[in-house]
Symmetry: C2
Subunit: 118 residues, 2 copies
């Protein structure tokens, strides 16, 4: 068993093209012996966003704090806030934006092997 | 894509032997087309607990609010609170207890096919 607080995990700035003000922490993946799926913690600074992109794996997202929106294919947007959850299917375009004055924090679970090193 | 708030999901009382004051919501599993892993939302009432048990699949847990503890094999306990995360490996004994005066809320991700109907 591994027990810790997310704040103890090293935070990395996401430098992927299209990302702005995005900080990532890998909470549970190969680092703790988890190979099936990986839980990551994201924090988007006010005005920040993840890339609007697509890939061949799914996301399970849960919003912890802050306000934001998720962009869908064909330009649609949906507001998200604390307690929102978002399932993004494989090959579905998506992007997250922080629209509030405080950071937007969320968890994002992906299959194992889809994040470098995990 | 599926976007909703956890509070919109039907809450079920957990009647498994050893469970006390446990409410469960299945956020993302087969209900949204997710087959690889399932995100569930748990709420334990003050004094409530999940069974102290073991099974052949893992848990990835993230505490949203409240105070509690996780019991480990051989009687050890670790305090948990907002922002704590817990990786429980397959076949590792574990149980969660709410020790505060407010409910203990956490997410728990399990592999697909391990929860009835998901």
């Amino acid at each position: 068993m591994k027990v810790a607080n997310f704040s103890e995990v090293e935070a990395r700035s996401v430098s992927e093209p299209g990302a702005k003000g995005v900080t990532l922490r890998v909470l549970m993946g190969k680092n703790v012996g988890a190979t099936n799926y990986v839980m990551r913690h994201f924090e988007l600074a006010p005005g920040g966003n993840t890339p609007f992109h697509t890939h061949d794996w799914e996301h399970e997202v849960f919003v912890l704090s802050g306000q934001g929106k998720v962009r869908r294919t064909a330009g649609g947007e949906t507001e998200i806030g604390p307690g929102s959850f978002v399932f993004v299917a494989a090959n579905e375009e998506h992007g997250f934006t922080c629209t509030g004055s405080a950071p937007l924090a969320f968890l994002c679970v992906v299959p194992g092997g889809k994040y470098p090193g995990q």
